[in-house]
């Protein structure tokens, strides 16, 4: 099969790239092993957590872009970042939207009883930013061992209770199982009645982020009606149900727009001819299929998904064998403190301003390959709180550049 564009990697950057190309009317194949880190890390859309909530994001970001030309944001530029975010938002019309408060960062409460500065917040989490001003009750569930309402509540200066949903309180429940059960009206009736019994003078009710996969706003509205108070979701340990919602939305819309999805398989080989990539091979046991394209976007992420591999001496990009920027060896890649900004996380694929991978002389290595997402060099997305912003903007920009040629 021949495509205009093959995107490798099904995380947020790959999905954005595929979306952007598909909307330009191109024939797109997106191939990936799984959901990328969307289902692990993504809840809200972090753009740049270093900007204080008192500053307009645009002002803070414009300074950042100016000061960090080698950062992915520096390469994409302020205008395209804004374009990319509105393109992302176009996939999330009401009721489940991603919005900022006053075009600035806001503090969302997290499952560890901390707050995180983030930019675009899904509708189900939005009310959480008022936690400090309003009396809040936090609800946990017996057997859901990744969320401890009372610990959270104590740290956030509110009240927490744990509900038992099962006759056997020892039964374990995963986030995914809870989210599916939330879609059943009978469970919502039960929770509504139980919370109503417990509620005192609280105006806000916080839940773990498991209020359904497909229709979280419907789930929320129903429980709100039953309780008579506003509710919000609190992001916590993986897996991330809100991340799965993003994935599902992209998948449905992309297929609707004629994009092709190939998930569950990894690319076994990429075949170049001189400075041009022709095709990739995918092993579908027992056969190997090949897919060719005019353009390729590499969006395979960092170490978790195998986009980068490290041993004690080297860091490599295994698929296209692109050069990776790194200095020294393993013992120099990490700081003494866990919380330090480890130099390894700044390493990645070096690109030009259009996100084409470059060699040591700054020359593009392949004429039809672009790179998007956290595999890029020059950022510290965890420390900066810029993960989703980098994924969205570079996915968008890589596809725009690839497709205009």
């Amino acid at each position: 099969m021949h495509y205009d564009l093959i995107v490798i990697g099904m995380g947020l950057s790959g999905l954005m790239a595929a979306k952007t190309a598909a909307e330009m009317g191109k024939k797109v194949l997106i191939i990936g092993k799984g959901l990328g880190t969307l289902s692990i890390f993504s809840n809200t859309i972090d753009l740049l957590g270093t900007i204080p909530p008192t500053m307009k994001m645009k002002d803070g970001l414009s300074q950042w872009v100016h000061d960090h030309p080698e950062h992915p944001y520096g390469k994409v530029g302020l205008e395209k970042i804004e374009e990319a975010l509105s393109s992302f938002n176009s996939f999330f019309p009401p009721p489940y939207t991603f919005q900022s408060k006053n075009d600035a960062n806001s503090l969302v409460p997290t499952g560890a009883g901390t707050f995180r500065l983030t930019y675009l917040i899904p509708s189900t989490m939005m009310k959480g930013i008022n936690l400090k001003e309003k009396k809040t009750l936090i609800i946990g569930f017996e057997g859901y061992k990744d969320f401890y309402a009372r610990r959270l509540a104590d740290l956030l200066n509110c009240r927490g209770i744990t509900l038992s949903l099962s006759e056997n309180p020892q039964t374990e429940m995963t986030a995914a199982a809870l989210a599916r059960r939330m879609e059943k009206p009978s469970l919502r009736d039960f929770i509504g009645a139980e919370v109503k019994k417990e509620i005192r003078d609280e105006e806000l009710i916080g839940f773990p982020a498991v209020l359904g996969v497909n229709d979280p706003m419907g789930v929320r509205k129903d429980i709100e009606k039953k309780i008579g108070a506003s509710i919000f979701e609190i992001p916590g340990l993986p897996p991330s149900i809100p991340g799965m919602r993003i994935f599902n939305r992209f998948k449905a819309k992309l297929i609707q727009k004629g994009g092709n999805f190939l998930s569950g398989y990894s690319v076994s080989k990429a075949i170049p001819r001189k400075n041009h990539f022709e095709k990739i091979e995918v092993f579908h046991p027992p056969v190997t299929n090949s897919y060719s394209a005019d353009h390729f976007i590499l969006a395979t992420g960092r170490f978790i998904g195998g986009g980068l591999l490290a041993d004690r001496e080297r860091i490599v990009e295994p698929l296209f064998n692109l050069p990776v920027s790194y200095i020294g060896s393993q013992e120099e890649w990490f700081g003494k403190s866990f919380f330090a900004q480890h130099s390894i996380h700044g390493y990645g694929i070096l690109t030009d301003a259009s996100l084409r991978p470059i060699d040591e002389n700054g020359k593009p290595i392949f004429e039809n390959v672009w790179v998007a997402g956290t595999i890029l060099s020059g950022h510290h997305c965890v420390n900066e709180k810029s993960r989703e912003g980098i994924e969205i903007t570079t996915g968008y920009w890589a596809a725009r550049n690839a497709m205009k040629l």
Binding site: K145, R150, F303
Partner: protein, 502 residues
């Protein structure tokens, strides 16, 4: 607070706790002070090797003889702490077969059972071993769980009247004439101060022996030797694997529950508390052990750790040292004129009971009491119970599991918590298998803090505890971050520094 005791033991490692038990069974009351938790020194940071003594047969037959004698005793009195795996001493093409023959003969001389196995026999027992090996010698080595061992000794000692003050540090010693009259100590967690009057004092501080003696101007000359180890994410062999050559670096692989522990190095250290594992040590351990098991080269490591061995340099003046070169028992009455002070240091984990026996014998002699040791015949409580793994497996799916790596149930942790007296997170981790598995506590410690909170047991900012744990964990993980271990670390950083913004 003023306390009074007949015998004061300093140090809560295997030796100190072993002495407390030995004395308690002889009807002699004691109080033990430890500045951390039990096993905070070398007792909790060793290879977990249950020596048969074979390793020392050629270089130090006396120490070997002690090991095999204790090996036989411990199999009877603490079987629940020992996995009777056997051990193989493997000869590779570059190893000297003359050494192997001397080794077998030396084993026979001190009655350590040693059987020569052919290459094929060896490989059929342990298929992960290097196919080029020439032969191996089977000896009764094994794996030992130091935590279960020491905590079991402590429990039995307590049941027989011994007392313990953990997280309590000596602040000064008061001499009166030629005796130590009392010590001042401080509870490092609660802040309480104690004045403890004692008739006898036993310095069982291991690597800290000189550090302790310095307070009264004494020194016995303990050399500190850092030994570093690496834990693999899988268990490669059923048996302990040794290289059949004179003891050297990186020549032992000890199976431990679901993992293997590679060790060790031996680096002189000046510091007893501040030490790091160097990249050179990691390289050396991987290089040497992968000669015996090639798959180690590409395997995943879950942690590196190190301990400080106290080595007693023989040749020092005085004739009251123990008979063995393995450990040092010093009567400071004879040596320095401090009548009621004894120091015990050096030795091996496997000889902890013997060290406790000899120390208690010396103490009894000083006290003028004539009661014999019984620790070589009285099993520890729990000796009849089976290994925990079976129970853990049986509980899967029935109870809430806090630690998915090591299958630690919430109920099991709650039971440990109810026993009380635990003062910090590390105390809990010492008493369960939480945080011992692949993710090294990255998920279960978060959960544990939630459980502690629900039980009303957290008095401080629990996120501070969580951050402290992540920093401590980092020390062991940082040296092995590459390959798939790095994937996990990216996940953990993304959670705690990203989602949770700690």
């Amino acid at each position: 607070m003023n306390l009074k005791t007949e015998v004061l033991i300093i140090g809560g490692g295997a030796t100190g706790v072993g002495i407390a038990r030995d004395l308690s069974l002889r009807g002699i009351p004691s109080l033990l002070i430890e500045k951390g938790d039990f096993l905070s020194g070398a007792s909790g940071r060793n290879h977990g090797l249950f020596h048969s003594g074979a390793r020392y047969v050629v270089s130090d037959p006396e120490a070997a003889r002690e090991c095999i004698t204790e090996n036989r005793i411990l199999r009877k009195i603490v079987p629940h702490c020992i996995e009777e795996t056997d051990g193989l001493f493997v000869s590779l093409p570059e190893d000297d077969l003359d050494f192997r023959d001397r080794f077998i003969q030396a084993c026979q001389e001190i009655t350590i059972p040693a059987h020569l196995l052919s290459r094929d026999e060896t490989l059929s027992l342990e298929p992960e071993l290097h196919p080029d090996l020439l032969s191996s010698v089977k000896v009764p080595d094994g794996a030992i769980d130091p935590f279960e061992l020491v905590l079991g000794n402590a429990k039995d000692a307590e049941d027989h009247g011994a007392k313990f003050l953990l997280h309590t540090e000596i602040t000064s010693l008061l001499l009166e004439g030629n005796r130590i009259k009392s010590v001042l100590a401080k509870d490092l967690v609660g802040g309480d101060e104690y004045s403890i009057e004692t008739s006898y004092l036993i310095n069982a501080t291991g690597a800290w022996a000189d550090h302790f003696l310095k307070r009264i101007g004494l020194r016995i000359g303990v050399a500190l030797s850092k030994g570093s180890m690496l834990i693999t994410n899988q268990r490669f062999t059923q048996r302990v694997i040794n290289r059949c050559r004179p003891p050297s670096d990186g020549d032992i692989i000890v199976p431990n529950h679901t993992v293997s522990i590679l060790g060790t190095t031996s680096v002189r250290s000046e510091e007893v508390e501040q030490f790091e594992i160097t990249p050179e040590e990691i390289t050396l351990l991987i290089k040497e052990t992968s000669r015996m098991i090639p798959a180690i080269e590409g395997c995943r490591f879950i942690r590196a750790y190190a301990g400080i061995r106290p080595l007693f340099q023989s040749g020092e003046k005085g004739d009251d040292r123990a008979i063995s070169r393995g450990f040092a028992l010093i009567d400071h009455g004879k040596r320095d004129g401090i009548k009621n002070l004894i120091t015990i240091t050096g030795g091996k984990l496997v000889t902890y009971r013997l060290m406790a026996e000899k120390t208690s014998d010396l103490l009894c002699q000083k006290m003028g009491v004539d009661v014999s040791c019984t620790t070589h015949i009285k099993p520890l409580p729990g000796a009849e119970k089976s290994s925990g793994l079976k129970n853990r497996l049986a509980a899967i799916g029935q109870e809430e599991t806090l630690c998915d790596c090591e299958l630690v149930q919430k109920a099991e942790v709650e039971a440990v918590l109810k026993e009380g007296k635990l003062k910090n997170l590390q105390d809990i981790l010492h008493r369960t298998r939480l945080a011992k598995g692949t993710c090294q506590g990255a998920f279960c410690v978060y959960r544990l803090l939630g459980v502690l909170h629900d039980l009303g047991m957290v008095k401080v900012d629990s996120n501070k505890v969580l951050k402290g744990f992540l920093e401590e964990r980092w020390k062991g993980i940082r040296p092995v971050l590459w390959g798939s271990a790095l994937k996990e670390e990216e996940l953990i950083e993304g959670i705690y520094k990203g989602i949770f913004n700690l």
